[in-house]
Symmetry: C2
Subunit: 413 residues, 2 copies
Amino acid sequence: MNQYVEHSGCGAEADLISVDQALSLILEKVQSLDTETVALSKALNRFLADDVYSSINLPMFSQSAVDGYAIVATGHISAQTQFELVGELRAGQSTDICLTEGQAVRIFTGAAIPQNTTTVARQEIVQSIENKILIRQDLAIHIDIRDAGEEVASGQQLAQHGQQLSIGAIAALSMAGVKVVKVYRYPRIAVVITGDEVASQASDLTTGQIFDANAPLIQAWFEARQQKVSIFHVADHEDALTELFHQLKDEYDLIISTGGVSVGDYDLIRPVALKVGFEQIFWKIKQKPGKPMLFAQYRNLNSHHCCLLGLPGNPAAVYVGMQIYTSTLLNALQNQRQMPNWFSGKMTHTLKPDARERFLRMSAQFDQGELQLQSLSKQQSHMLTNLMQANCLVRVPANESIQIGQCLTGIFI
Amino acid sequence: MNQYVEHSGCGAEADLISVDQALSLILEKVQSLDTETVALSKALNRFLADDVYSSINLPMFSQSAVDGYAIVATGHISAQTQFELVGELRAGQSTDICLTEGQAVRIFTGAAIPQNTTTVARQEIVQSIENKILIRQDLAIHIDIRDAGEEVASGQQLAQHGQQLSIGAIAALSMAGVKVVKVYRYPRIAVVITGDEVASQASDLTTGQIFDANAPLIQAWFEARQQKVSIFHVADHEDALTELFHQLKDEYDLIISTGGVSVGDYDLIRPVALKVGFEQIFWKIKQKPGKPMLFAQYRNLNSHHCCLLGLPGNPAAVYVGMQIYTSTLLNALQNQRQMPNWFSGKMTHTLKPDARERFLRMSAQFDQGELQLQSLSKQQSHMLTNLMQANCLVRVPANESIQIGQCLTGIFI
């Protein structure tokens, strides 16, 4: 401290980029990971790397839609017509029964209808008397039959490249007999928690130290996505951090760090990252919380890429970093170059302007088809407890007084 | 088939209960499981069995909100005032520095402010010259200080009994030093897949058989909730099913079955369940898909309860069964007696009436704060592929023509 020092600032600055610019840069600059073929049962929430076509008809064979009787008649059946009952077919049974006119078989939902079947009579409109059945209502042709291929024809597209495999998608592909899928590889992720102030055990807690919320937050965030990550704690020492980054950059596809990314004298993430070969894509976003966010990329001689998302240390900034930026980045690494799926909702009260765009923790409720947004108290970047009540993060544009009824965008959390 | 037979029907019937009645019966009749104490890190999505109070202040100590200088002055500081620089404090450092008037220490975000500090000057408004600093703007007292306990005071309630532990809740409790929580036990769940028509391997597929969508669907549904379940396949034979139910009822808290629950001659779930000691709570809901849904409970001599949710075999009915009924039941088992958290949205087109309430797979999109609902094709109970496009299940009331702009309720999927 022997020389004249001008510190750089922490407020809104001219060289900051906007939230949308930061997200666009992530989508633009990230290289997709390679693809792999995995069992469908292991592919929940992964993104398809190929279109998927059905190799079968759905339904696979024409079948009864009800419990009833498969019948052969020349056309429309009038009430009180009788048919000869010649057998029974349960779901799963294969059949070589070939019905002729005037015949019927007892049949159950999902069972293949015999050859020549012209219609199915649901059991509610049938009386069975020994080896005959009586149809009690008029019955048209081709009733209660699920035709082979009526949902999907063999060769038809089932799912498209880029589609995320939801629970429903897994079920639908299973039904079509799909056993393996080609998907983008999920990134290998290292989480680096910095900060001498972070104690992991209460017994370690000395004056000036705090309990760590960031590692539990990030761990839970990935657990909710059925993913595990490796967590590293590192002190605010340049050598230790340099050695850790040297090691991680070639082994992981993504490093998420918390803390040490601002302009303070002990904010080592950026200088160390640049020193070990990362190239800065952006640093500092005109947002609150989470202004000094860093995004950088490293590429080694084997063309392995490693992304670094440097989140600030304040837990609310980490929360926004995970929900908004990490999720976008993970999708981009899996070749999904899409902005977050913002909802729009209507503010139920006014908000004062702020020089930076804010992500406010709010409570959203549906009312008559409209999403009503109510902000919560205690929004500062070192505060988290309002997440007990919040169900969404809402974007509040910079330098704007927000009016009642004004539409804002956000995500459910 | 020697006698006169009247089959019961598959359409809307007088003795069916409504969707709301079925859900109410689940909430009313289910006995909560006992509680257990688990590590907070293992408690994602679990429900608290106790209120949680903070044993510390948050923040734990008064600290700087910025990188800057902690200062002692008598009051408001005028621009161009100088202070003596007597040291430096980083986050995590404990301090016995006791400042006196006219003194300042360099301080970083999150570091404990020294005793007697009256305000903090952020570094942007400070020039440091050797062992002195110059404040370049007027500065009020008590600026950029996070006061001990300003978010939460020691002893204050952090979370309440019944609250589900979201990612944000885990992070907030971690920040307050909470290490373990008392939660309701998660049920032990057995899944019973019935149906001779279900082949699990393509090589087993003979005419009349189909690929199973139900086991993959249920497995993925629980995987998305970080839970594992035991899956049992059983043929449509009374002895096999009886033996299985005998075994499962004392070992599990919940049995979810698929198929075999209608009125067909081979629908064995209900008769077997009643035979082994389950008591029926309801059977058949006036809904589409999934009418012949069974809910029953068993209680053994040790007061162990086992619930049985018998879902129909059609995959769309299983899907609705999981998303609407299983989720409500799982919450009730964990003492959360609340209806699903229905959204409301506005229909973008008309719908024809149907005798039963329907759960239609739809695509929902936000537009200017309103949720717009668009139904998809291929809604029959044996069809699933529209789940590739659907993002919600919407309730369409029975016997009602739905108009454009009409509000309907549903859940996101």
